[in-house]
C-alpha cells in the first residue's frame, strides 16, 4: 500500500508538488497523468526516496519513508522513464547484483531467468547495456525492479521505446503484479494506456491533484460519456 499525505516538494522558486494526498491500495493500479511540468516525475521521485520532500509523509507498505527508509525501499521498485544501467555490467550481472542488494535469496537465479523469459530478454544474458536497444534497457530495468517481488511498483512512462509486442507484455506484467497484490502507480502521457490498465486515475496540474477517482467516477463527475482525453484536456486547461 502507498499512502501519501500533504506532500510538498519545492525547488528554489517553484513548488513542483503542492500538498498532494492519495492512497493506492493493494491490488490497485493508479494512473498518474498530467501535462508536462505538472509534477508527476517529482512526485514519483519523492515516492522512491530519491528526492526528500519539504513537507508531508509517505508510507510504503506501512513504513514511513522518512523514518524507516531502508524498510520502505526494500518493498518498493521504481522504474524511471530514462533507464539508468551500469554500462560495465551485463544483463545477468545486473540481475545478480540486484538480487544480492535486495536480499532475494537462493532462488534469485530462477526468478531472474523467469523474468528474462517474461520480458523477452532471454538470450541477452551476456549483453552489455551499450548493445541493448532503448526498449530492451527499459525491460531490463523492469526485470531488476520485479526481481525482489516488491509490494509497491512505481512506473514512470513504462512504455517508452518498447515495440508493440513488448507493450502488450508490459501491460500484462503490470496488471498481473497488481492482481498478485502489489500497489502500482503508472505515470504516463498515454491516456489510452491509463484507461486500459488503471483502476483509478489521479490528474495532476501545477503540482496539485485536480481529479482523483475511478474512471467511472471521473466520467460521472464530468457529466457524460466523455473520454479520458477530453476530461483531461478540460481540467488541465489544454485545448
Amino acid at each position: 500500500m502507498i499512502e501519501v499525505e500533504g506532500l510538498v516538494k519545492a525547488y528554489q522558486n517553484l513548488t513542483a508538488v503542492d500538498g498532494l494526498s492519495f492512497r493506492v491500495a493493494r491490488g490497485e493500479v493508479l494512473g498518474l497523468v498530467g501535462p508536462n511540468g505538472a509534477g508527476k516525475t517529482t512526485t514519483l521521485r519523492c515516492l522512491a526516496g530519491i528526492l526528500p520532500p519539504n513537507a508531508g509523509t509517505i508510507r510504503i507498505a506501512g513504513f514511513d519513508l522518512a523514518a524507516q527508509p531502508v524498510e520502505a525501499r526494500r518493498r518498493l521498485a521504481f522504474m524511471p522513464d530514462e533507464p539508468r544501467l551500469f554500462e560495465y555490467l551485463t544483463v545477468e550481472d545486473h540481475l545478480a547484483f540486484t538480487g544480492r542488494l535486495y536480499g532475494v535469496g537462493a532462488d534469485a537465479g530462477a526468478r531472474a531467468r523467469a523474468l528474462l523469459d517474461e520480458l523477452e530478454l532471454a538470450g541477452k544474458e551476456r549483453a552489455l547495456p551499450a548493445e541493448l536497444s532503448r526498449g530492451m534497457k527499459q525491460k531490463l530495468v523492469v526485470a531488476c525492479g520485479l526481481l525482489h517481488d516488491p509490494e509497491v511498483l512505481v512506473f514512470d512512462e513504462p512504455l517508452t521505446g518498447i515495440d508493440p509486442g513488448g507493450i502488450r507484455k508490459m501491460k500484462q506484467t503490470i496488471v498481473r503484479r497488481a492482481a498478485a497484490g502489489a500497489s502500482v502507480i503508472v505515470s504516463s502521457h498515454l491516456l489510452p494506456l491509463v484507461e486500459e490498465i488503471c483502476s483509478r486515475v489521479l490528474v495532476l496540474s501545477r503540482g496539485k491533484a485536480v481529479l482523483l477517482g475511478t474512471l467511472d467516477e471521473i466520467r460521472a463527475n464530468a457529466g457524460g460519456d466523455a473520454s479520458l482525453e477530453e476530461i483531461f484536456l478540460r481540467v488541465t486547461g489544454g485545448s
Binding site: Y11, R45, A48, G49, I50, L51, P52, P69, V70, E71, R73, R74, L76, F78, P80, R84, F86, E87, Y88, L89, T90, D93, A96, F97, G99, R100, L101, Y102, G103, V104, G105, A106, D107, A108, G109, R126, L128, A130, E131
Partner: protein, 607 residues
C-alpha cells in the same frame, strides 16, 4: 539555382562555427567563479611550464648535430618510414573511409555536391589535426638546426600530410582491388604482397648485415659515419637498390631534417612534388567510400560515447563477460554486491586469478633471486626489492584515487542509489570498498614480491653456503633483516592511509559538487586541469593534517623503542599510527553519509 558550394568554403564555415561556439561556451563558463579559478590555476601552471626557459632571456637553440649525423638521421629516418609504409601495404586493410563524422555524413552525403568536392572537403578537414599535430610537435621538439620553428613546423606538416595522403591512397587502392574479379584480385594481392615483402626483407637484410659487420669488424661500425652507412646501402647484398628504395622517403624527410634554411628550401620542391603525386593518387582513384566512411563514423561515435562515460577501453569480449572478480552469492550482506559491482567497473577479471599471477611472479622472482650467481646479483636483488616496495606503496596510494570506482563515479547514478535499501553509512562504506580492496591487495602483492626477491638471496646464502655481502653503507635498509620490518610497516599502515585518502577525495566531490564534478566522465580543458590541480592540492593538505595525530602517536613510540627493538619498532608504530587514521576515516564515512543524504541529483549533477 545557385552553384554548389566549394569544399573550402564548407570546411571554413564548419571550422569557424565550431571554433566560435566552443570559444563562446568556454568564455561563458568563465563567468562562474569555479571555472575562472580553475582557468587561472591551469593557465598559471602551463605558463610556468612553457615559459620557464625564457626566464633567462631568449630560449637557447638546441645544440646542432654534426653534419654527418644529420645525414645519418635522414637515412635512418627514411628507412624507418619505408619499413612502416611497407608494413602498411602488407597488412593494412583497404577501408576507404574519408574520416567524416556522423553529422557530416548526414548533411553532406545527401547534399547536392559532387563526390570530388566531398573528397576535397575530407582532405581539407583532415588538415586541421595535421596542422595541430605539426604545431604541438614543433613546440615539443624545439627549433632544429634550420633556424626557425616555422621551417620545422612546415617540414612536419609536409611529412604528416604525405603520411595522411599515403594512407588514404593505400586504402583506396586496396578497396579498388576488392572490386576486381576474384582471380585478378588474388593475383594482385599476391604480387603486391611479394613486392612489399621483398622490399622489406631487403631493407632488413641490408641493415642487419651492416650491424653484423660493425659488431664483428674493428672500429666503430658502419653507422658511425655517413660513408660507412651509404657504403652498406650501396654495396650490400642487393647493390644500390636499398638506397633507391629510400629515395622518396628521404625526399619527404629532408625538409624536416634540413640543417639550414637554405637546405630546407633546396629540399622543398622534391617533397612538395611527392605530396602532389600522393594527392593525385587519392584524387584519381575512383572508389566507393560511403560504406567505409559510415562504418568508421559509427565506431568513432561509439568510442566517443564510451570516453564521455569514462571508459576508454573497448567493450569486453563475449568470453570475458563471464568473468567476475568473485562469485557473488545470492545471500549475504548487500555491501558486498556494491564492492563486486565496482570491481567490475574497474576490470572484468577474477581476483583469484590475479592473486595466482602475483603468487607466480613472486615465486619466479624468488627462484631467479636464489639461483642467480653473478657478482652483482645481491645488489640487484636488494635494489630490486626496495624499488618494488617503494613503487608498490606509491601506486597503491595513487591509482585508486584515479579510478573513481567509488561514490565519485556512482554519483552519476545517484537517483538509482537513493532507491537501494541501504542506510547511507553502509552505502558509503560499501562504495569505498572496491578501490580500497584494489589498492590494499595490490599493495600487499607488491610487498610479497619485494620480500620474495630478498628472501631468494637469503635462502641461497643459507642453503648453498654463499655469503650474502653487506649492502652499501649508504643504504642499510636494503638488508633483508631490515626489509622485513619495513614491509610489515607498509603493509599495516597502507589500508588506513588508502581509506583516509579515499574518504577525503569522495568528500571533496560530495561537499563541493559544483567545483569537483561527480561521475566517471573526465572533463577536459584548461579550467578543468586547474580544478584537478586544486583538488589534488586540497586532498594532500587535508591528508597531511589527518596524519598529524598519527605522527604524534607513532613518533614518541619510535623514539623510545628504537634502541631496544631496532627497525621492529616500525610495525608497532604503524599499528598505533593506523588507529587515529582509521578513526578519522570512520568519522569521514559518517560525514560522507550525511553529505550523500544532502546530495541533490537534480541540482548537483547538472553542472
Amino acid at each position: 539555382m545557385s552553384a554548389s558550394p566549394s569544399p573550402l568554403s564548407l570546411v571554413f564555415f564548419t571550422a569557424k562555427s565550431m571554433l566560435r561556439n566552443a570559444a563562446r561556451k568556454k568564455l561563458g563558463r568563465l563567468r562562474e567563479p569555479r571555472y575562472m579559478v580553475g582557468f587561472l590555476v591551469g593557465a598559471a601552471y602551463f605558463a610556468m611550464l612553457f615559459m620557464r626557459p625564457s626566464r633567462a632571456g631568449r630560449p637557447p637553440a638546441p645544440p646542432r648535430l654534426p653534419g654527418h649525423m644529420d645525414e645519418i638521421l635522414l637515412v635512418a629516418g627514411a628507412a624507418a618510414l619505408a619499413a612502416a609504409a611497407l608494413l602498411t601495404w602488407l597488412f593494412r586493410k583497404g577501408q576507404p573511409s574519408l574520416g567524416l563524422s556522423e553529422a557530416e555524413i548526414q548533411f553532406l552525403f545527401p547534399a547536392p555536391i559532387s563526390r570530388r568536392a566531398l573528397l576535397h572537403y575530407a582532405l581539407l578537414k583532415a588538415q586541421f589535426p595535421v596542422l595541430l599535430s605539426a604545431f604541438i610537435l614543433t613546440i615539443v621538439s624545439g627549433r632544429r638546426g634550420n633556424g626557425t620553428a616555422i621551417l620545422t613546423g612546415l617540414g612536419l606538416w609536409l611529412l604528416l600530410t604525405a603520411v595522411h595522403f599515403h594512407n588514404l591512397a593505400l586504402a583506396f587502392t586496396k578497396a579498388r582491388w576488392n572490386e576486381l574479379p576474384p582471380g585478378s584480385r588474388r593475383a594482385t594481392k599476391i604480387a603486391v604482397f611479394a613486392v612489399s615483402g621483398s622490399a622489406l626483407g631487403m631493407l632488413v637484410v641490408t641493415f642487419g648485415a651492416g650491424v653484423l659487420a660493425g659488431a664483428s669488424g674493428p672500429g666503430r661500425g658502419p653507422f658511425a659515419s655517413l660513408g660507412g652507412l651509404v657504403a652498406v646501402l650501396r654495396s650490400g647484398p642487393f647493390g644500390p637498390a636499398p638506397l633507391a628504395l629510400l629515395a622518396p622517403f628521404r625526399w619527404i624527410l629532408a625538409p624536416l631534417l634540413a640543417p639550414t634554411a637554405r637546405a630546407f628550401f633546396l629540399a622543398l620542391p622534391l617533397a612538395l612534388g611527392l605530396v602532389c603525386v600522393l594527392y593525385a593518387c587519392v584524387a584519381l582513384t575512383a572508389v566507393r567510400f560511403e560504406e567505409a566512411t559510415l562504418s568508421q563514423a559509427s565506431r568513432r561515435a561509439a568510442l566517443r560515447a564510451r570516453r564521455d562515460a569514462g571508459r576508454l577501453e573497448a567493450l569486453p569480449s563475449e568470453k570475458r563477460r563471464g568473468t567476475v572478480p568473485f562469485a557473488l552469492a545470492p545471500r549475504g550482506r548487500p555491501e558486498l554486491a556494491i564492492v563486486w559491482k565496482n570491481l567490475l567497473a574497474w576490470n572484468r577479471t577474477s581476483l583469484r586469478r590475479q592473486a595466482a599471477i602475483v603468487a607466480s611472479l613472486a615465486a619466479a622472482l624468488f627462484s631467479a633471486s636464489a639461483l642467480l650467481a653473478t657478482p652483482s646479483a645481491d645488489a640487484a636483488a636488494a635494489i630490486g626489492s626496495a624499488a618494488c616496495l617503494a613503487l608498490t606503496a606509491l601506486l597503491a596510494l595513487v591509482t585508486p584515487l584515479g579510478f573513481r570506482i567509488d561514490l565519485r563515479g556512482d554519483l552519476e547514478y545517484a537517483t538509482l542509489l537513493r532507491t537501494w535499501p541501504l542506510a547511507a553509512e553502509r552505502l558509503v562504506l560499501a562504495e569505498l570498498g572496491a578501490p580500497a580492496a584494489v589498492a590494499v591487495l595490490y599493495g600487499w602483492g607488491g610487498i610479497a614480491i619485494a620480500l620474495a626477491i630478498a628472501a631468494g638471496r637469503v635462502v641461497r646464502a643459507a642453503f648453498l653456503g654463499a655469503a650474502v655481502p653487506p649492502p652499501p653503507a649508504s643504504a642499510p635498509f636494503l638488508r633483508f633483516e631490515a626489509l622485513v620490518p619495513i614491509c610489515l610497516t607498509v603493509a599495516v599502515f597502507l589500508p588506513a592511509l588508502v581509506v583516509a585518502a579515499l574518504v577525503v577525495q569522495n568528500a571533496s566531490v560530495l561537499a563541493f559538487p559544483a567545483w569537483f564534478p561527480a561521475g566517471r566522465k573526465r572533463a577536459v580543458g584548461l579550467e578543468q586541469a586547474g580544478l584537478r590541480m586544486l583538488s589534488f592540492l586540497g586532498t594532500s593538505l587535508v591528508l597531511g593534517l589527518a596524519l598529524i595525530p598519527a605522527a604524534l602517536l607513532a613518533g614518541p613510540l619510535i623514539f623510545f623503542t628504537f634502541r631496544p627493538l631496532g627497525l621492529w619498532c616500525l610495525p608497532l608504530a604503524a599499528v598505533l599510527a593506523a588507529l587515529p587514521v582509521l578513526a578519522e576515516a570512520a568519522a569521514g564515512v559518517f560525514l560522507l553519509a550525511r553529505l550523500f543524504e544532502r546530495f541533490d541529483p537534480a541540482r548537483d549533477m547538472d553542472s
